[in-house]
Amino acid sequence: MAEIRFEKVCKFFDKARIIEDLDLTIQDGKFTVLVGASGCGKTTLLRMIAGIGPATSGHIYMDGRDITDTAPAKRDIAMVFQNYAIYPTMTVRENIEFGLKNKKVPKAEREALIKEYAAVVGLTDYLDRKPGTLSGGQRQRIALARAMVKKPAVFLMDEPLSNLDAKLRVQMRSELIELHNKLKTTFVYVTHDQVEAMSMADVIVLMDKGRIMQEASPEVIYNDPNNVFTAQFIGTPPMNIIDMPDGNKLGFRPERIALSYAPVQGDFTRKGTVLTREMLGSETLYKIDCSGNTYMAKIDDPNFAMGENVYVHVANEHLYFFDAEGQRIREKGNETLFAQLLKTAGGMSNV
């Protein structure tokens, strides 16, 4: 178990600034997910913890100990790579055993550990096979066993599920959550998939262009976003954002919309036409055109048809306001401005 702290960390590749002056604390024993679009610096951050892609400047601490310049092998971490990075010329057993042998773990203990962790990942029958003869999911399990057998203080995972098919991914996701519950070690998991982030994380660190946009639990990130970026990154479809006459922005989640044929008085209500309808099963997705603005709505009722005239209604408690820079304007501390914004939003209604 360990806490990891980044202090004023920068990373440049040649002249490209990937990460600048980043401060972040990854809590001990938590399942932390670094999420963001490709190139946002999340993998760079993970490689810094592993020690295989050193920071250009700044410091990284593990339980207060400065590990900025510590060799990867001496960091008490294990990593699972996106392409598994298992040793193709070694058998499953040799793959799991390699790190233990290098650490001069006695043979009897090695055997016991291999047996234990092969059983955990369900590879007991495949120990003498070469990875080339196994499926993608099984190879991923080798990588997991190889990491687990070292009993690291920190578990790093770089998009470990992205090469698996959808069904296996869902299954492995719950297995990883179970694994974290069992091991209770610090997990740092990198993904670009917000669903993976939301479903697995204790703490989500959402990144964009090398900066941290928000660091919070999945519930907070979804219900209380700090900025437009977070509001639109998390949630499918993303939050509807529209420009207000005063230059600020108004946002509301597609799930919070109520559709009706008759106008609803009060709060935010606009008249519109159904452009498209996607039936997803338990929910239906509508794209609605309201005199120039298009909103996405996700509701239970599948009975609205394309081309129909409908009313979009969002209650005041589900409205979010952001300033021109995209930063959230919260009610607390800004009561007068917030009341003003609510009034402006209400004024945008065209019923």
Partner: protein, 309 residues
Amino acid sequence: MSDLTLNTKPARRLTRKSVANNLFSWALVLPAILFLAVFTFYPLVNLIQLSLYRGNITNPYKTFRGIENYIDILVKRPQFMTTLKNTALYVVMYVPICLSLSLIFSVWLQKARKMNNFAQTCFFAPHLVATISSAFMWSWIFSPESSGIANGLIRLFGFNTHNWLGSSATAMVCVMIMNTWASIGHHALIFLSALKSIPGEVYEAAELDSSSSIKTFFKITLPMLSPQIFLMLITMTTNSFKIFESVRQMTGGGPGISTKTVCMFIYDNAFETNNTLGLAGAASIVLTIILMLITLLDFKGLEKKVHYQ
């Protein structure tokens, strides 16, 4: 009876179809078979026939000698066995040295340094020079006079000049140095492309697994290069058994016949001395059999250790 006719008809139709299929398949492989027959099998049969006669280029089949030619080269005349020994010695020196040096150079060139592109070109350039020209150049380097670079260098360090190519102790080593110099870039390039195909993540995983760089090389890099090493081992062995131009230019087989190789023996008996074409033929057959055996042994002994992706 009617049942029988009903049963055989479709069967016959199938047979006709399969014959047509067969003919079509044969038509497709025919060009390759013809090519092999004309340029490989016929010359081989011809060679075997040649090895059973006494004759020369203008009249190869003067008198039939049976296996006398084979008895001559293997038992009666010791020269062939000496050339075989010389060639084997060369192969035993050249293959491991050239193979390991190519490997070391490729590992060195693998690191992304600015000078490595330049170094790569430098190593590869000798491969583009004709062997005969390289041999001529190295003859000059190993010249017995003090104008030779080798002698100039050792004189600089206060040693006496040495007749490199004129001494049976060093002549073959000089030929080996020349050939290593000429081919190392080519082999290193093949290893380099294989090295570059190993994903970097595997090395990072090894680093996280506390593997030392030497252990990583022997446990990860080397096994992953095994297909290339195996291929190179076979081609290098067979090619160096057939060494000819460089020895002929640099030492002429001398001093005495201390550097004479099997191919020089074949050449001399075929074109330089009269009525010994049959001996050359017999020597060629023996060489072919030896190379086949070595390749077979390589496959039997090593193929299981080769890791194919």
